[in-house]
Amino acid sequence: MSYDAWILLTGSLVGLTCGVTGALLVLRKMSMLADAISHTVLLGIVGAFFVTQSLNGLPMLIGAAIVGVLTAFFVQMLDSSGVQSDAAIGVVFTSLFALGVVLISFVGDSVHLDVEHALMGEIAFIPWDTLTVQGMNLGPKAVWMLGFVFLINVLFITLFYKEIKLTTFDPQFAALLGIPVMFIHYLLMGMISLSTVASFDSVGAILVVAMLIVPGATAYLLTDRFLILLILSGLIGILSAVTGFAFAVLFNVSIAGSMACATGLYFILAFIFSPKHGILMKQIRKYRLSSEQS
């Protein structure tokens, strides 16, 4: 596969993984928790580096998952102690993120881990960092990691489909039926953390937020079916990656940045033109209604 094709595949996998998982958080009105976790995983990655002294995939995944779930836990704790939830999110993620950034500046230049990388990712280098097993080149590591995380996410969503749905729609009723609401909550937080860290290398900590939230919000404007919403969100993620890549090549700008901007483009399109919930259709319906009445 060519260099460009690998980048496209990586971007699409980021869009797909984040799109599907992030849509669940949009529905739970926890988008800003996704924002928080995608910042704080940086601390998990730096932490994993300090423990193992290398930038290996697996310790990074574990470190990020731990810090991600911890973020959710701290927010929950402050929330239940009476701090309003937006401020709770704000104070937790800025603290942990700041800690991560400060720790990075102690890492030194010899290691491929710096602040800019953490923010924007380096998708352009992905195709060269390949996985080799017994001399066989199996393609970029990032692709394998993203594929693996995507499968895990799909597995969990399939297994706990009805529990995720009910705890999202009506958590009180779910608790009444004896469904482990908190377990599902932290399971989702774990999935978000994994998706974030797998995408981290390619698009960076902050741009992954766009991939998590915007496709889900866009799909929310387009459909009224839960399952279709998840699938649509993943597809919009892929579409954004492809569009963003083309744009980045055309104007010679950051690939990850363009991909994130493309999610915004599709959101605006849905916001205006969505047949069900777009403002244009709403206006037309209003106009028809008033002309019928007169």
């Binding site: 949009v26 009105k29 701090v83 104070v91 603290s95 800690l99 902050i206 741009l207």
Partner: protein
């Protein structure tokens, strides 16, 4: 170390950081009570494309121009959030998250465009992301100090009006207060503090200065007046401590250090705060 601190430029930077911290603590108190902490975060992220765009258009570095650009895109982001919430089924959290991330991404795209496609280099622009006190020149610091002073004075002037409009906007309207105008003033204060603060603290973390100090102050008092002052003091302490530490430790980014100082104050307040702190609470429940 003392040589460094007796340096005239450093002294100015310290004064600037105290004023900035105090102003953000004061304004943050209103933002917190208005439940707009995360909207201020979106505003902060949204200043980046404004800075980049100004450089692309005018092709030279001018702090006043950058700040005008930052103001425009920050306001545009705020307006977009309101537009999305008002005209679609998207909830507040997703609207904020979407606007924040897309605007920031746009900023990143502009910065890469500048470094690859224009003759200038973008060094100096990158400092806007995490802030760098060491790179501030005298005129920047003077602007930060004077700007913060103006914002503090405005907050003091409108204190009782803010109090009533935030607590009970309908009642305030009934009293004949210009609630819409006051909301605009508050919005102006937030944009103001974000814009003058990004050079020192950076767009990614400036919101922490609006969120963390007032939240810490809340653990010590139930009175808005005291909370505002205390929050300002916490902000000022974080600002000056962060600046000193980052100046001494070469290359440490200023913004994250300032935020960490604020976080430490928060942690202390969370545990020991006289009104709602964890330990006083446990003690008082035992006495019951």
């Amino acid at each position: 170390m003392f040589d460094l601190l007796s340096n005239a430029n450093t002294q100015w930077v310290l004064i600037g950081s105290i004023m900035l911290g105090f102003a953000s603590g004061v304004i943050g108190s209103f933002v917190l009570l208005k439940k707009q902490s995360l909207i201020s975060d979106a505003m902060a992220h949204a200043t980046l494309p404004g800075v980049g765009l100004m450089y692309i258009i005018f092709e030279y570095k001018s702090i006043p121009l950058f700040l005008i650009g930052a103001t425009i895109t920050a306001l545009l982001a705020t307006y977009s959030i309101q537009l999305i919430i008002k005209h679609s089924r998207i909830k507040t959290d997703a609207a904020i998250g979407s606007v924040l991330s897309v605007f920031f991404a746009l900023g990143i795209v502009f910065l890469t465009y500048i470094s690859k496609n224009t003759s200038g280099n973008r060094s100096g622009l990158d400092d806007f992301i995490f802030g760098q006190a060491a790179s501030l020149v005298a005129s920047d610091v003077r602007m930060i100090t004077i700007g913060s002073a103006i914002l503090i004075i405005l907050s003091a002037l409108f204190f009782k009006e803010f109090k009533i409009t935030i607590f009970d906007p309908l009642y305030a309207m009934g009293l004949g207060l210009p609630v819409r105008f006051l909301n605009l003033v508050l919005l102006g204060l937030v944009v103001g503090i974000v814009v003058i603060g990004i050079q020192m603290v950076g767009v990614v973390l400036i919101a922490a200065l609006l969120i963390t100090p007032p939240l810490s102050a809340r653990y010590w008092t139930d009175k808005l007046g005291r909370m505002t002052i205390l929050s300002g003091v916490f902000g000022a302490v974080s600002g000056v401590a962060g600046t000193v530490i980052s100046t001494i430790g070469e290359g440490l980014p200023t913004g994250p250090i300032i935020v960490l100082c604020a976080s430490i104050i928060f942690l202390f307040s969370l545990l020991f705060g006289s009104k709602k702190g964890f330990i006083p609470k446990v003690v008082s429940t035992h006495e019951l």
